[in-house]
Symmetry: C2
Amino acid sequence: MTLEIVSSNKSFGGWHKRYRHRSSTLNCDMVFAVYLPPQAEQGARLPVLYWLSGLTCTDENFMQKAGAQRLAAELGLIIVAPDTSPRGAEVPGDPDGAWDFGLGAGFYVNATQEPYARHYRMHDYVVHELPALIEENFPVSEKRGISGHSMGGHGALVCALRNPGRYQSISAFAPISNPMACPWGEKALGRYLGNDRSRWREWDACALLAETNEKLPILVDQGDRDDFLVNQLKPEALQAAARSAGYPLTLRLQPGYDHSYYFIASFIDDHLRHHSEALSAH
Amino acid sequence: MTLEIVSSNKSFGGWHKRYRHRSSTLNCDMVFAVYLPPQAEQGARLPVLYWLSGLTCTDENFMQKAGAQRLAAELGLIIVAPDTSPRGAEVPGDPDGAWDFGLGAGFYVNATQEPYARHYRMHDYVVHELPALIEENFPVSEKRGISGHSMGGHGALVCALRNPGRYQSISAFAPISNPMACPWGEKALGRYLGNDRSRWREWDACALLAETNEKLPILVDQGDRDDFLVNQLKPEALQAAARSAGYPLTLRLQPGYDHSYYFIASFIDDHLRHHSEALSAH
């Protein structure tokens, strides 16, 4: 697989790089970003944190706004940020041009419905194709963490819970915790997966928590002034599911914080340490 | 003077807020951003760092991308980020629609030429009107620092050097050091100030360094892979001017770094400490 470099910026002694490649999973060209801390040039094999962004985002939002590079450089953590959907003229978006479905809104599922099934396979891209590419091209260890924000928080939880053994650490910021039961999720799951709601369960963190045997501790931060808290994010559903499954979840309600990257930046260091500790353990 | 709140985001225990107000200096509505660290809610009177952004920017670039809030919250430093030019339908821009003059490119001068003289008075806005507004509405001390990037680095140097006693600390990232002798500067100074180049000297950091009696130490960071280094920024001219004037300048050439906010974020902590130390001294 060939990577074409798009841009390169030195950052905290390491490098922020963007690459374009042809995705065989998504049947289109994709761009992703990688932050390589200074240790990557010194021959170390480093753990990787995959960051999944939210609705409307690309690889750029996290890399520009989260302020993660400072501590990642210190911890020796590689961060990989994929795009949030397939892209390109041939990829169908929302028929009404809405921002909560289609382009920028892949929801990290494998679509089964037309016209989406050919391109919208973000789960397989994030869990399989992209890590294979990273592991072929960068000095990475076998350790993988996953985190994300909002739709990407949902993606992080679901990718990890569906694939025991694949990740060694999980966290999320303001995840869509129970997509089967919120407007964003119902719209996306209905169109990508069809109207049979029993098929949605395998893409819902609350449903998956009840079934998994692997119990990696999950760290979730959620602002209590988040405009989407009540209708879309439903952290209380995640907490109830974790409690009933005996799953180790640390849910922190952060007073005064909203849904923005100002919130993410304020707590990203705690998440990087959460991942680094798990990924550096032997 | 009335401030209208535009947005408010909690950030590192403090607040990132944006305000709109009518500027009597610029004869238009202006938006600025302020970061208020947690100490601002605890009754302290805090020093203020004014940040001037570069070509094409608004108040948002620095607040979203520099990662300054973490350390500002720790140091108890208020940061104020104005826009980079007057704005609005009535404000004339570049006649050819270029990005290096007019809207987003006020160059922190007081224009004397038509049709710019009525609105393009960014020096007086940044040095007088905005601080008066800040000092009336926020819990600030008498101490002011100033910094900026590229065109805003030029602005920071020139605002401080023209106004002895007004600022207690100065720094810059990749400043346009000698605008009289680079294409961006020649275009802007020629149009805002007219073709008499003797009038440009009072807006050129290299020329001002030779004349000032106040000698506040200046910290400048400059990436050595900056695409604008040779033709536009000319840090060697600043260094020569400082040397010949006996002016205390610390110019750090940072290997591998470019002109982006990835560069700024990598070194913003050093600048915040540089300012905080000077502004907290008695």
